[in-house]
C-alpha cells in the first residue's frame, strides 16, 4: 500500500516535472526560433597573420565596421597562423565537414583547394556585379581562373620590386634617379656597389636576391622569355633554354660576379638592406612598409631590371568561399568579400599593410592619392604591376615548390651545372604531375 502510494505520488511528481520540462523546452524552442529569425548570419573568416601583429587589428577594425553596417551578417575573424598554417587549419576543418565560410589563402593554393573539392566557383556571384571584376588588375586575377571558372577574389597581393640605397648610389658615382634597367646593368651596378676589405672579404653586398624562395627565379625565367607552367598546371618547362638561362644568371650573380650572397630569405635581405649591409635588393612590395619604417637612409624603389621582357610574377592571397556551407552564408560571405574589396577599403588596406591596391579605382581615391604624395616610393609598385603576370602554380604545388627550391640551392652551391639540375627537376616534377595530366 505504502509503496504503491509513494510510487503514485512519485509518478505524479515526475509527470508534472516532465510536463513542465516539455513546456519549458517548447518555450525555449519557440523563443530560440524567434531569435534565430532575427539573428545575423554568422560568417567564419579565417585570416592568416602574414604581416606583423598590429595588422590583425586593422582587419579587426574593418570587420567591426562591416558588422556594424550589415546588421544581418556577423563576420567572425579567426586568426590562424601564417599562410601554411591557415591552409592546414582550413583543410582539416573542411575535410571534417566543418569548413570556414570564407578564408584568405594563397592565390596559388587554388589547385590544392579545387583538387580536394573544398571551394566553390564564384562566376555566378561575380556576374551579378557589373564592372566589379573588370576593375581588378588583370595580373592579380590570372591565378584565380582554373578550368575556365573563377575561384578566388584578390585581396592582399604583391609584386617583386627593386630596392636601392640612394646614398650608396651617390657615393659610388651612380645616378640615384636611375636604377638599373637591364640584367647587364644590374651586374655592373652591383659590382660597383660591392665593398671588399683588404683580404677580399665582402663587407657590403652590391645586391641581394631572395634565393630561398621560388618567386624571384620565376621573374628571371619570365624575363628570359620562359613559360612557368601550362594553363591547367599539369606541365612544367624547366628544361627549356630560358629556364636554364634564368638559373644560370642567378648562379652567376653569386659565384661568377660574386656580388650577391648565395642564400637569403625575404626577412634576411630586408634586414641587411636597412642595416646597410646590402646596397640593393629584390624584395616583395610587401616589404615596403618595413623598409620605410626601419631605413635610416634615402632609398629608392623601382620595377625590376628586365632582360628579353620585363615580366614578373604576382604573389599573395585571395578570398575563397568554401563548399558545403548553407546558401545564406555563401551569400553573406560574398557580401563581405565585396565590401572588403571596395575601392575605398582596398585603398585603406593597402595604406595600412603596404600591399598593392587590387582595384584600379582604388588608386583614384583621395586617401590613396594623399598616401602617394607622402610616400612616392609606393608608385613603383603600380609601374611594376603593368608587367605582372600569373604566379607559378601546379597541382601538388607544395611538392613542386620544394623540389625547385632544392634545385635552386644546389645550383647556387655548385653541386652541378644548372642545366643538369633542371633536367633532373623536370623528371621529378613530371612524375608528380602525371596523375593530373589532361584533367
Amino acid at each position: 500500500m505504502d509503496t504503491s502510494k509513494s510510487r503514485a505520488a512519485w509518478s505524479g511528481k515526475a509527470g508534472r516535472l516532465v510536463a513542465a520540462l516539455a513546456a519549458l523546452s517548447l518555450a525555449l524552442t519557440l523563443g530560440l526560433s524567434l531569435v534565430a529569425s532575427a539573428a545575423p548570419v554568422p560568417v567564419r573568416f579565417y585570416y592568416p597573420v602574414q604581416v606583423a601583429g598590429p595588422l590583425a587589428r586593422v582587419i579587426d577594425g574593418m570587420v567591426e565596421e562591416f558588422n556594424r553596417t550589415h546588421p544581418d551578417i556577423q563576420v567572425i575573424p579567426v586568426y590562424s597562423g601564417n599562410y601554411d598554417e591557415t591552409m592546414q587549419k582550413a583543410q582539416t576543418a573542411a575535410m571534417s565537414g566543418n569548413p570556414p565560410d570564407v578564408a584568405v589563402l594563397l592565390a596559388i593554393d587554388v589547385f590544392t583547394l579545387t583538387d580536394a573539392n573544398l571551394i566553390v566557383p564564384l562566376d555566378e556571384l561575380a556576374a551579378k556585379e557589373p564592372g566589379y571584376l573588370e576593375d581588378f588588375h588583370e595580373g592579380f586575377l590570372e591565378n584565380s581562373y582554373l578550368y575556365g571558372r573563377l575561384w578566388g577574389i584578390p585581396f592582399q597581393r604583391s609584386v617583386p620590386l627593386f630596392y636601392y640605397n640612394r646614398d650608396m648610389f651617390r657615393a659610388a658615382g651612380l645616378d640615384p634617379n636611375r636604377p638599373p634597367e637591364t640584367w647587364d646593368e644590374l651586374v655592373e651596378y652591383a659590382r660597383r656597389l660591392t665593398v671588399r676589405d683588404a683580404a677580399g672579404r665582402v663587407e657590403r653586398w652590391g645586391h641581394e636576391n631572395i634565393t630561398e624562395d621560388t618567386w624571384m627565379i620565376q621573374a628571371f625565367a619570365l624575363q628570359a622569355g620562359g613559360t612557368l607552367m601550362s594553363p591547367n598546371g599539369d606541365e612544367a618547362y624547366f628544361t627549356s633554354p630560358q629556364w636554364v638561362e634564368a638559373l644560370q644568371f642567378m648562379v652567376d650573380l653569386a659565384n661568377k660576379h660574386q656580388v650577391m650572397p648565395r642564400h637569403r630569405y625575404y626577412g634576411d635581405a630586408s634586414s641587411d638592406f636597412v642595416a646597410g649591409r646590402a646596397a640593393t635588393m629584390y624584395n616583395s612590395s610587401g616589404s615596403l612598409s618595413f623598409v620605410r619604417s626601419s631605413a635610416k637612409f634615402d632609398f629608392g624603389v623601382s620595377p625590376l631590371p628586365g632582360y628579353r621582357t620585363n615580366l614578373v610574377p604576382t604573389g599573395g592571397g585571395n578570398f575563397y568561399i568554401f563548399r558545403g556551407i548553407p546558401a545564406e552564408r555563401q551569400r553573406a560571405a560574398w557580401e563581405f568579400i565585396k565590401w572588403m574589396t571596395t575601392p575605398e577599403n582596398a585603398a585603406r588596406w593597402s595604406i595600412a599593410s603596404g600591399y598593392i591596391p587590387v582595384r584600379k579605382s582604388a588608386y583614384e581615391t583621395a586617401a590613396y592619392q594623399q598616401y602617394l604624395a607622402q610616400f612616392p616610393q609606393a608608385k613603383a609598385a603600380r609601374e611594376q604591376l603593368a608587367w605582372a603576370r600569373k604566379e607559378m602554380a601546379f597541382h601538388n604545388n607544395q611538392q613542386v615548390r620544394e623540389l625547385l627550391l632544392t634545385a635552386q640551392a644546389e645550383a647556387l652551391d655548385e653541386v652541378a651545372p644548372p642545366a643538369q639540375i633542371l633536367a633532373r627537376l623536370q623528371t621529378q616534377v613530371e612524375r608528380i604531375l602525371r596523375p593530373f595530366k589532361g584533367r
Binding site: 567564419r44 597573420v49 602574414q50 604581416v51 606583423a52 601583429g53 598590429p54 590583425a56 587589428r57 567572425i76 579567426v78 586568426y79 590562424s80 597562423g81 601564417n82 599562410y83 598554417e85 592546414q88 587549419k89 582539416t92 576543418a93 575535410m95 571534417s96 565537414g97 566543418n98 604583391s158 624562395d213 625575404y266 626577412g267 630586408s270 634586414s271 636597412v274 642595416a275 646597410g276 649591409r277 624584395n283 616583395s284 610587401g286 616589404s287 612598409s289 618595413f290 623598409v291 619604417s293 626601419s294 635610416k296 604573389g315 599573395g316 603596404g354
Partner: protein, 262 residues
C-alpha cells in the same frame, strides 16, 4: 660550466634587450647589445595586441589540468600492467606501446572529427582530450612500479593494504621521481604545443599562449617586427621564468630527495 651558462643565457639576454630597443636599433651595421635609447612602447603595443591574461590562464589550465587527468589514467593503467595478472596483458601492453610510433600529425583529421562531433571545438577540453591517455607515461610508471619488490606488497597486504589502496599509499609515493619526470615532459610538451591547438581553436576563449603569439609570427614577405615579437615573448615567458626562479630550490631538492628514496 661558465661557458655553458653564457651559451644558454645569451639568446635570452638578447631577447630581453631587443624588447627594449626601438626599431631602428635592431638593424645596424655592427650588431650592438645595448639599446641606444630604452623604450617601453614595445610592451604597451604587444600588451594591447593580445589578451595575455586569458591566454595565460588557458595555457596553465590546459597543461596542468591535463597533467592531473593523466596522473589518474596513467597510474591506473601502469598498475594494471605492472601488478595484475590477466590474459592478453602483454599483448595489450605492446599495442599501447605501438601508439608511440604513430606520428601525431597523422591523427589530426580523425581527432578533429571526434572533437567536432562531441561539440567541443574551440574549448580547452578539445586541446587536452587526445592526450588524456599517455602511452609514454604508462610505460614510464609501469617500469617504476615493477621495481617495487613483491615482498613489500605482501607485507602491505598483511596490514590490509591491497589493490587501489596499495597503489595510492605505496606505489605512487615510491615512484615520485618517475611522476616528476613524466610531469615535466608532459607540461613542457603541452605548454609549447602549437599545431593541434591552432587547428581546434578559434578564439582567445580557448587559445593558449603559443597560438596567440602566432599573431606576431614572422612574415613571409616583409621583415618581422622583432622588437614587438621579443616584447610579447618576454611577457609570455616572464612569469613562468619567475616562478621557476622562486621555486627552484624546492624543485631541485624534491628531485634529489625522491631520487634517494626511490
Amino acid at each position: 660550466m661558465v661557458p655553458a651558462c653564457v651559451l644558454f643565457l645569451a639568446p635570452f639576454v638578447w631577447l630581453t634587450l631587443t624588447a627594449f630597443k626601438s626599431r631602428q636599433d635592431v638593424f645596424s651595421l655592427t650588431p650592438r647589445w645595448l639599446p641606444t635609447k630604452w623604450v617601453l612602447t614595445n610592451f604597451t603595443e604587444a600588451w594591447q595586441a593580445l589578451p595575455f591574461g586569458a591566454l595565460y590562464i588557458n595555457t596553465f589550465l590546459i597543461s596542468f589540468g591535463l597533467l592531473a587527468v593523466q596522473f589518474v589514467t596513467v597510474s591506473l593503467a601502469a598498475y594494471a600492467f605492472a601488478r595484475m595478472e590477466f590474459p592478453g596483458r602483454d599483448f595489450l601492453f605492446m599495442v599501447l606501446l605501438g601508439q608511440l610510433m604513430i606520428a601525431p600529425q597523422s591523427t589530426v583529421v580523425p581527432n578533429y572529427l571526434t572533437v567536432s562531433r562531441l561539440g567541443l571545438l574551440d574549448t580547452r577540453t578539445a586541446i587536452a582530450l587526445p592526450y588524456v591517455a599517455s602511452a609514454f607515461g604508462t610505460f614510464l610508471l609501469r617500469q617504476a612500479f615493477k621495481t617495487v619488490p613483491r615482498e613489500l606488497e605482501e607485507a602491505a597486504a598483511v596490514d590490509g593494504c591491497t589493490g587501489l589502496n596499495f597503489l595510492w599509499r605505496m606505489l605512487v609515493p615510491l615512484s615520485r621521481p618517475s611522476y616528476l619526470a613524466f610531469g615535466l615532459v608532459s607540461v613542457t610538451y603541452h605548454w609549447n604545443e602549437f599545431f593541434w591547438p591552432l587547428i581546434v581553436t578559434d578564439t582567445a576563449r580557448s587559445r593558449p599562449l603559443t597560438v596567440g603569439l602566432g599573431v606576431f609570427a614572422q612574415t613571409a614577405e616583409g621583415g618581422a617586427e622583432w622588437t614587438l615579437l621579443m616584447a610579447a615573448t618576454l611577457i609570455a615567458v616572464g612569469p613562468i621564468i619567475l616562478l621557476f626562479l622562486v621555486l627552484q630550490r624546492k624543485f631541485i631538492s624534491s628531485f634529489m630527495m625522491s631520487g634517494l628514496k626511490g
